[in-house]
Amino acid sequence: MTQTQTKTWDVAVVGAGMAGMAASLFAAERGLSCIQIGNGGGLLFASGLLDLLAVHPVAARRVWDNPFEALAMIRRDQPDHPLARVDDASMRAAFQSFTSALGDAGMPFAPLGDRNASVLTSLGTPKPTYGVPRTMAAGVDALAGRPPCLLLDFRGLREFSARQIVATIGDTWPGLRMARVEFPGAEATSELYAAHMAVALESGEFRERTLARVRPLLGDARVVGFPAVLGLARSAVVHAAFEEGLGVPVFEIPTMPTSVPGLRLNAALEQAVVTRGVHRMLRVDVASTSFDETAVLTLDGVPGGQRVSARTVVLATGRFSGRGLSAGQQGVTETLLGLPVQQPASRDAWHSRDFLDPAGHAINRAGLATDDDFRPLDATGRPAWPGLYAVGSILAGQDWMREKCGSGLALGTARVAVDRIARQLRAPSGVGEAG
């Protein structure tokens, strides 16, 4: 039985990570019909924090307080950096609509401004970031003002140690104390899992039993930090109940991936795009593609196969772990369409001799070269297909991990690409008119 999707979509987004989600969300908000195809799951590694841009240049490890100043510097220093093609207004709009959609879906964020926030990580180190979930916001103020603060952890939760945080940052934060409590009902269990605790804390009974164990430990603390386990789908409710129950501000500290905030982000984004009418096909692979007047993607993993026809395609397949790029003996290849990958001339040049080279490695900046509209280029240097766009970490010329610009890259490039798509589809001529 072969199903043929007769509908021609305005946009087909390939990829379900941060960039694919952002592109789908923005396309839906613009009223474009959008289908999202992908394998999903990559978002679970997210921390819940949304980095815009914090470090530039990476070799100097300069940390910026104002991400937009860093953006301006990138535009000046590296015109081929994908972020150099994202203007401030698009970047602000992207973060604004992204966080407000997340808020609608039950994961509210602290108000966004011009400044990066400094967030305490589970290693005890400060991390610069831009978008902070509301459940973590009080931690930003606490880290800045360093009032008397109690950090709690739970016996059996292996990925989070309050003792380690105090050991790391306690020297410069005299009022910082830690305490370990038993998670209610888990007294006989040796191992705890954050997501299970988060779900348990959504029940009032578990909350009360936990709070009853924490209250006697409060002492002079004017703010209390927990590992990020305060609720899964209803984290706003759980967080509010903890603040009310303890009488002081409460903040979550992001845990190692895969973390509860990652699960929240994944669920909230799913809800956000689905409620805005995005059609999603997950756990499928694109088996083959053809580009003519419209793009036709033939899917694998659907019984009998299925064809998706779209006027434009957004490639948001990620890098190596997302399997958008593949590294082999002969070099790096783009897995879906075989697009040319901008990369070091030989494998020898992939990595610096120094593993911890502050400038990073050349391979980290490999990826797809695009025009100013984020349309990937073919071997002749022209857009491979007029309606094909590439966004997110697959793009060449960036090092998002060192530059701390993962979400900025995903959201900013998705925003600009979707704006161009909307303009292109409105234009009297151009791709997709025959569809």
Partner: protein, 564 residues
Amino acid sequence: MSASFLRMAFLVSLGLCALGLLWRVSAWLRVRIGSDARDIRFHQRLFAAVGGTFAALFSRRIFGLVKAKVLDVLLQRRLFNGCWLRWLGHLLIVYGFLLLLVMHALGRLVTAKLYPDYASTHDPWLLLRNVFGAAVVLGIVMVAAGRRFRPTSTPRPRRLGDKVFAALLAVVLVSGFLLEATKVASPKAFYRMANEYIGSTDPEELLPLRLAWATDFGVAFPDLQGTPDPDKLAEGRELHHDACASCHSPPGSSAFVSYPISRALAPIAEPLDGVDADTWLLYLHLAACFLGLILLPFTRFIHVLADPVSLLANGAASSGPLSPAGRANRRALAIDACVDCRLCDDRCSVAPIARSLGNPALLPSHKLLATHAVATNPRWLDRQAGHARRIAEGAVLCTTCGRCTDRCPVGIDLADLWVAGRADLARAGQPSPAQWVRERSALDWDEALAARGAVQDPIGPLSSNRETYSACVQCQTCTNVCPVVAHGGEEPGPVDLTPQKVMNLLRLGMVDLAIGSSMVWDCATCYQCQEHCPEGIRVTDVMLELRELGYRRLGDTRERRQPE
């Protein structure tokens, strides 16, 4: 045969039938299926039955029930939704017999009271008897054809009572038609009647009447061949009009079944008369009727009585959950209410698995018998020789999806029966694999398997392919989203391994340790792990495969350790 003997035989048969019915109906309150039925006393079940009946009868739902009764029982609505051929056939059989019973068998009691000029050999009665009889025959043909053309036709063992009863019905039908045909052609019957109503048995004196009867009624007088004298014939017809016509219609058109048979018998009418064939056929006909009456409660035709009760219980259940006693009654009733229509088999979700395993014990119609047998006789399973495990598979593989219940034309709650029957199977020595795996820890199973030595049975395609789990980065996402592990936080150690540890065991090649782990067997197959895995590993599919492997490997090991 004297009328008093007939009446006595009838009354005795009726009495035995009533006793049999009482026995069978009391089983609806006696048979215990399921662990929750074990502690319920007889009187509690009696109260529940009476209470449930009253509740159903005096509730506002009674209209719905009556409607359901009309549609389901009288018109066999749900059977119609299944296969129109069998529906029509079934209706023809049921109503053909019912009408034969009322109009013909109870002719003197019923028909003669309503129509004082009733005579079984006069139209419309003669015609109707043939119509009803033919309807039954046609119905049997249609039901057989419907069965024949059904795609999934797996023979189910029949009970002795059913076989005998079906044979008796055939005897009743065939002897009835033969009796009528024999009497039509019989000169002896003619002389008997002539003696009674005209007072003569002289062939010459009766010649005109004989001519009329040979011509118009097909009596096979051996001496009357050739074209009759028209005057004599007219005279005979006049005599017939005065003496016989009030009771006799010409059978040529009315008795459209038996008259053609009588033509075939005509050449041997005299020898038949010589051995009193009509009398013997009558004895046979009546004996088969009486025996059938006695046997009736012990056949599946008990469903005629059980179906309305089942539908009543169905109605009571739809207005709110039944009491434990009510549920026990409903389960006990199921076996009798079953009409063996096999629509449940057609609809069964695991029917494709039954076909691929070649194990019909998975199908609802087979399971109904097994469930009842296991519950009523603990030794029954042992007597099934090597089939016990296959029968138990029926309980294991059932998904309790409830499609069989939805389809059942007589409203049996089959899904409830399957769940309840599992406890009885466990008591009879065939618990579900998830239960018997717990008899030992994963480590003990591993040791037992190692002691058995190398086994050359294939591991599943997923587990044996390293690429399935080589991408695992041990990120614990699967464990984090696993509701079974989450539930395990409540008590000490119900889950020995977490999903990502199972993946790791596979990576280490320790399949035998993995298949005995409670994680594999407690897995709710909710697919959360597989849906969330960032590496796209088919965690749940692997769990299912390991279960299948465990069922084979550990099951064999277990059976070797249990010599009984």
